[in-house]
């Protein structure tokens, strides 16, 4: 590898010089692929430093705080829903508000919390630092991206205050019901939801371009693609997916807005509503489902891939061991990402689309299980003969493995078209997707926050509070969602405001509902403990040393910690190896940072990367 750089350097020096001043113009000269050091925007006032910031680190924190704030609302909504389900006698909610809360909970958690937090939050914080760049490629556009997200959130929240309230169409927003009477918020509520999504996609596109271009163009010298931490591979691939998937959502939203406001019939067939025949004619409701899931399925991986990447790094650092099968892991991320565009209709086996599609989509869906399984194997093989530190990030990573394994395996039930028929639209589905794309990514997020908190604040989070938080969250959420699968086997349908005493449902099933709700309340409350820890530790936490986890990746190697504006002081780092050289035989320490030159570790038997 190093030879190649020297070659490029030479080429660069040829190129940089003015052509006319060179005595023998070398027509064979090849311009270097390397770009000159970035020029940075420097803020001058409080407003441009902390509010309209153009520093990716701040933008990342802004994204994360906004996403978490919105997510808290989603959490409270889930409490209200669960209380209604377990104690219908209390009469807390009417059906309309129940469905509105279901819808808002779903949309907030998937889009405004998870997507925004992983890509906007961790993406902004980690991409420049881990790639060895000073900032994102386009800091100004990056700032716009965040503020578009803020406006999207505000529009979403505004829908709570319009006549008719927010939409209650379910987070999938299926027409025709989303925009016809009979569904709560089918007037103003749905319009605001669609506008909010359109704004989100616009904002996200600005951020996403930044993430992709920064990873491709601004990596430090020596940082080849195959030396990138898996965190970056996960975030990068997820962003590419988002760039292809979000346009489908965007056009779906635009078309439905037109159907609702201008009376077009993209998704609206001739139908009766409130006893009146509507003027719509000839549209296809299933077309919307195709558009929605063409976005919606990659969306699952937009959330999952960053989690996969981050957890790989956490497992490696905290078990002091090389990630097992790095190249396989990279190709699994890319492969899963590519395949995720060919499986969308497994959400639609019983949608009324041509049933023959079932064969194709069941096959593609089960194929995607193979690279996913490879990732799980490589995580657990990373633990094998490791030196496992049971720090908070490691605990959450272990929790992730168990939770994700469980949720992934139930995916094999739902992906297999025949098995899906009895289980679809039951609580089995609810349990499955909460396990696999709710709890599992959240556990990674928590692990990641405990891991990178010192990088952001220079202090450690409280370990005892963190451990209480871990045990309640991990065991508690398993207790919520594992039994819920069995309600699905009984046949309890999802999106039911009340189940009554149905003859086929044992009363014990309703008892189980009460148990689940109590667990939900406890797990939710434990998150307040986390928030307390998060806020208080910023001031009172134990001061962190530099690189507290003894990690190899570049974000811990900045001259100052927390890193300053521009990240790297005068000179950009040079990278000599991948970030997984832990416990190398012959090395003095059990870790070798990516920017440590070979001359300083003579004697270490490093494999070439």
């Amino acid at each position: 590898m190093s030879d190649e750089y020297e070659h490029k350097l030479e080429a660069k020096s040829d190129y940089v010089g003015d052509a006319s001043s060179v005595s023998t113009p070398d027509i064979d000269a090849v311009p270097a692929a390397e770009l000159p050091d970035q020029e940075l925007y420097h803020s001058h006032s409080w407003w441009t430093t902390y509010v309209f910031s153009q520093d990716a680190k701040y933008i990342g924190i802004q994204y994360a705080l906004t996403a978490v704030g919105t997510g808290l609302l989603g959490l409270v909504l889930s409490w209200l829903m669960r209380i209604q389900l377990a104690f219908p006698g209390l009469g807390w909610l009417d059906p309309a508000s129940y469905y509105q809360f279901v819808t808002m909970h779903g949309m907030i958690m998937v889009v405004y919390l998870l997507t925004a937090l992983f890509l906007g939050g961790f993406g902004n914080l980690l991409i420049p630092l881990m790639c060895g760049a000073r900032d994102m490629a386009f800091p100004y556009v990056n700032m716009l991206s965040y503020w578009a997200f803020v406006v999207a959130v505000l529009v979403l929240l505004a829908s709570f205050f319009v006549p008719g309230g927010p939409t209650g169409a379910g987070w999938t927003l299926y027409p025709p019901q989303a925009i016809t009477a009979g569904t709560p918020g089918s007037d103003m509520g749905i319009i605001l939801m669609l506008i909010s999504l359109i704004l989100f996609v616009a904002g996200f596109t600005m951020g996403g371009l930044n993430y992709i271009i920064t990873v491709l163009q601004l990596r430090a010298r020596g940082m080849t693609l195959m030396r990138l931490p898996l965190t970056i591979w996960g975030i990068f691939t997820a962003t590419v997916l988002a760039m292809f998937a979000f346009p489908a959502l965007l056009v779906g939203c635009l078309m439905m807005t037109l159907d609702s406001l201008l009376g077009t019939s993209f998704f609206m067939p001739a139908m009766v509503s409130l006893g009146e025949t509507l003027t719509h004619e000839g549209g296809s409701p299933i077309l919307f489902q195709h558009l929605f899931w063409f976005f919606g399925h990659p969306e699952v991986y937009i959330v999952a891939l960053p989690a996969f990447g981050i957890v790989s790094d956490l497992l490696s650092v905290h078990s002091r061991k090389t990630i097992f099968g790095y190249r396989m892991m990279v190709w699994a991320i890319v492969g899963i990402g590519a395949l995720s565009f060919f499986v969308w209709a497994h959400h639609m086996y019983v949608s009324g689309m041509n049933p023959w599609f079932g064969f194709f989509f069941a096959t593609t869906t089960l194929i995607i299980a193979v690279p996913t399984a490879v990732k799980v194997y490589n995580w657990i093989l990373t633990l094998w003969r490791g030196n496992i530190q049971l720090s908070l990030p490691m605990l959450f990573s272990l929790g992730f493995i168990v939770t994700f394994l469980n949720g992934g395996l139930t995916g094999l039930f739902l992906g297999n078209v025949t098995v899906d028929v009895p289980l679809s639209d039951t609580y089995f589905v609810v349990a499955h997707f909460h396990m696999v794309m709710g709890i599992a990514p959240l556990l990674v997020i928590f692990g990641a926050i405990y891991h990178w908190y010192p990088l952001i604040t220079g202090r450690m989070m409280n370990e005892t509070l963190g451990k209480i938080h871990f045990w309640i969250t991990f065991i508690g959420s398993y207790a919520i969602y594992f039994p819920m699968h069995y309600q699905g086997f009984v046949g309890v349908p999802r999106r039911y405001f009340e189940i009554y005493d149905s003859p086929y449902i044992d009363t014990s099933t309703l008892l189980l509902n009460k148990f689940i709700t109590i667990a939900v309340l406890i797990v939710g409350a434990a998150q307040l403990l986390f928030l307390y820890n998060l806020i208080v530790s910023a001031r009172l936490g134990r001061k962190s040393e530099k690189n507290p986890w003894k990690a190899n990746s570049l974000e811990w190697q900045t001259p100052q910690m927390p890193p300053e504006h521009g990240n790297w002081g005068k000179e950009l780092p040079k990278v000599y190896r991948w970030p997984y050289d832990f416990s190398v035989p012959g090395a003095k320490e059990d870790y070798i940072p990516q920017n440590q030159p070979p001359s300083e570790i003579i004697g270490a038997k490093v494999e070439k990367t």
Binding site: S273, K321, N387, V421, S502, D506
Partner: protein
């Protein structure tokens, strides 16, 4: 130690819950018992993987816990092991998929002799239409729906005249006779779902969807809507009663044909006209 033990206990607890909790599927009442079989097969394969991986993790956490005097193994890759695991997974996945596709083929292939029943969904309830003596359901169009013609049958279509209209929430079907449900909705998406039958399919305005089954057990089953359809979704319940031949014939004889209904409505209209004249 505690962490390893917890992961071990969670695994054991999950197995115990699976075998001893009271929550399991209802007794099947159709020919789709083979869907249950595919679920069981999936359970065995995925359950094995779940237990194996969880135990492996618990073992690693217990065995390789941190010791500052020890170093982890340095082994970035193991091509052989990786390819073995990949192939084993591929085989496991194929073993799940193949039987699934076989049953799906049965599910989407309706037998020739299936008796056609139209299930008619609206916000928020059910109606049914039987093909009558000719065995053919008459054509319909949403624009003809009115109080006199609640199913929107096209008057010019002779096949519709003898259709039996069941304008109530309850449907009877004959045991052991394959039945094809032709699913129609006049407003939003719905889904005709009877837990004991296992089958399911969305109803989409503008098209007629379908699925078929053979009822195998006499009984009284609840119909639930399984596709969200607005505020009344949870209350959209109906009933399906599986009868032996005698009971079925009695019920069928009570149903009224479209022709008779039209005539009756006509008479009522005439009566009202007469009343108005007076």
């Amino acid at each position: 130690m505690i962490v390893a033990l917890s992961i071990f206990l969670i695994t054991i607890g999950s197995i115990a819950f699976h075998f001893w909790s009271p929550w399991w599927w209802t007794e099947v009442a159709s020919n789709w018992g083979n869907m249950d079989d595919t679920i069981l097969l999936t359970f065995w394969i995925t359950g094995f993987v779940f237990v194996a991986i969880c135990f492996f993790v618990a073992y690693c956490v217990w065995k390789f816990s941190y010791n500052k005097d020890r170093r982890a193994e340095y082994k970035p890759e193991d091509k052989k092991l990786e390819s073995k695991l990949t192939w084993a997974t591929a085989i496991g996945v194929a073993a799940l998929l193949a039987p699934g596709l076989v049953v799906w083929n049965q599910y989407v292939t309706v037998p020739e002799n299936a008796y056609k029943v139209e299930v008619f969904a609206y916000q928020w309830g059910w109606k049914y239409r039987l093909p009558g003596k000719d065995g053919i359901l008459g054509k319909t169009d949403i624009k003809y729906i009115n109080d006199d013609n609640p199913f929107g049958l096209i008057l010019e279509d002779p096949n519709g005249k003898d259709d039996l209209l069941v304008d109530e929430q309850e449907l009877h079907v004959l045991k052991d006779r394959p039945v094809k449900f032709e699913l129609r909705t006049i407003d939003v998406l719905h889904n005709f779902y009877v837990p004991q039958f296992r089958g399911k399919m969305d109803m989409v305005p503008g098209i007629v969807t379908y699925y078929w089954l053979t009822p195998t057990r006499v009984g009284d089953f609840e119909v639930l809507c399984a596709e969200y359809c607005g505020s009344g979704h949870y209350a959209m319940r109906g009933r399906v009663i599986v009868d032996e031949k005698g009971d079925y014939k009695k019920w069928e004889a009570k149903q009224i044909t479209f022709e008779k209904m039209l005539a009756k409505n006509q008479k009522n209209d005439n009566l009202q006209l007469v009343k108005k004249d007076k």
